[in-house]
Subunit: 307 residues, 2 copies
């Protein structure tokens, strides 16, 4: 029934960039409320050094809690082998790696070149088969700055395609294309997803879009029309953009859900319950800026969710 | 070279709904700066009774000034024969009529049923050929609430198609479809434009979209993909939405221009100069809420306008 698969990344991508720390218990309540609203996949945290990102220090505890929620795929980010090992121990269902297509961004973000990062991911794929954990986590590579980079500017599409191919060959289960800094436009989204799909087929899965320049939903529409069915988004566009004060962060979950539902494309998510979850989030970090039109305008009179 | 034709409606749709009055001289400077930025069509005011809408009381003077600007098509709204006569006297190049597809909205807005409003427009078309003015103004009918109505809820698509056909038969030069209250979704936009075009062909021209629920650009993209090349928009989403405090009004000119330019589709509009015009607008009504992502985030590094 569900035709769109949304992975809520607010607890990771949002909180990681937020100005305020959300207490662990509030995170749990928020994540539970989003699962209750019908979100079936949540990126709940990141296994990075707590000293680097204090907001992610409780990730193991959050993963552990999230695993108790029914029908929820629990995702954690890992930037390297060390983070992957912690993610496997935590029991996360899926681990996602940021692999930047921009050399400058890659060095700044993970202190490795894109090629070195691919090798890091390859080691994790190999490690997975050796670890004999209770559950082998799914491994995703998110190609970040795939549509442009604030440091490098333009990122050649061929670089993105080559990186996606290397990652597929390294054995990841799925690849996402990420517009990390909100540079993408709808034509580019269509073109790049088509190019990458031509090379790696069904391993190309999610669109991770940001709304920095207001094109988040238009880009999501373009991706949908190009066959994409998996989308990352964050509630309230949480986290904003460090380079553009006042601009929202990820594409906004509530608005994305509304767009698809209003088009008659079911997301499996209940908008009313999603708004309840948003209230929990806002109450937990009341001074953090949040975004989104649905929270202001509500659904149209006579609106019916898609079935 | 220009592939997208944008009609800036901020001085009319925006200021009509704004909380603050913009002084006449500031309006002139703002309109001139937008024309300088390359906007070739501006809806500068509305010939409604000044007592009803004080913000539009200076429309004749504004039209007169705008006619002195080179290469600018000057548009004025008229709600009836009386307004049309004033518009013709003013010398406006184009007169646009709001013809609501929702019976309830039509009665509330112009105190006429949709059918009575079509007759009013027909009288204006006939009047135009009798008036022998210096220039015969182009006549547009904007089918408002074409995608839904806050009073009536759903507006049947057949009602919109029938109304568009009646207006075409009444002799208008062009028909626009307006999402007056921001209810439209991309699928509906495609479907309705296709249906109406099938009946009235090239007389179907502009998409007048609002951004109340954040879908403004996604809907514009859908309309573009359906062949629409004329768009109404307002700088800064000016005017907001009376039913949703904090939500923007029309789709935002700056963001719309950026979307098309980044897609490689030229609008003929200079984004830097557009931002200068925005500064004039903000300075003239500094306490009025304005919206838009481009003003916060700027263009991407290495951005090139379309040619």
């Amino acid at each position: 029934m569900r035709q769109i698969f949304i992975c809520e990344v607010g607890p990771r991508d949002g909180l990681q960039n937020a100005h305020h720390l959300m207490p662990t218990e509030a995170k749990k309540a928020w994540i539970a409320s989003m699962a209750t609203a019908g979100i079936e996949e949540i990126e709940v945290g990141s296994f990075v050094p707590p000293k680097l990102i204090p907001a992610m220090a409780d990730t193991a505890e959050i993963v552990s809690f999230a695993l108790t929620l029914p029908n929820l795929k629990v995702v954690a980010l890992a930037p390297n082998v060390k983070g992957f090992e912690r993610a496997v121990v935590s029991g996360a269902h899926k681990v996602t790696f940021p692999v930047s297509a921009s050399r400058a961004h890659s060095l700044a973000n993970v202190r490795m070149t894109p090629e070195q990062m691919v090798e890091e991911v390859r080691r994790c794929v190999e490690l997975r088969s050796q670890l004999r954990a209770n559950t082998d986590p799914e491994i995703e590579a998110g190609v970040s700055t795939a549509f442009g980079c604030t440091m490098q500017g333009e990122v050649p599409e061929d670089d993105v395609v080559r990186l996606a191919v290397m990652l597929a060959e390294a054995g990841v289960d799925c690849v996402a294309l990420a517009d990390t800094v909100g540079y993408a436009n709808p034509s580019q989204v269509r073109r790049l997803f088509a190019k990458v799909r031509k090379e790696i087929g069904g391993k190309l899965e999610a669109a991770h879009l940001h709304n920095t320049r207001g094109l988040g939903l238009a880009n999501a529409l373009a991706a949908y029309e190009e066959g994409v069915r998996h989308f990352d988004s964050s509630m309230g566009g949480l986290g904003g953009c460090p380079f553009a004060p006042g601009a929202s962060g990820n594409v906004i979950t509530e608005d994305l859900v509304f767009m698809f539902e209003s088009m008659g494309v079911p997301t499996g998510i209940d908008l009313d319950k999603l708004m309840e979850a948003r209230k929990l989030m806002v109450a937990a970090i009341p001074e953090e800026p949040v975004y989104g039109h649905m929270a202001l305008a509500g659904v149209p009179k006579g609106f019916r969710a898609a079935v």
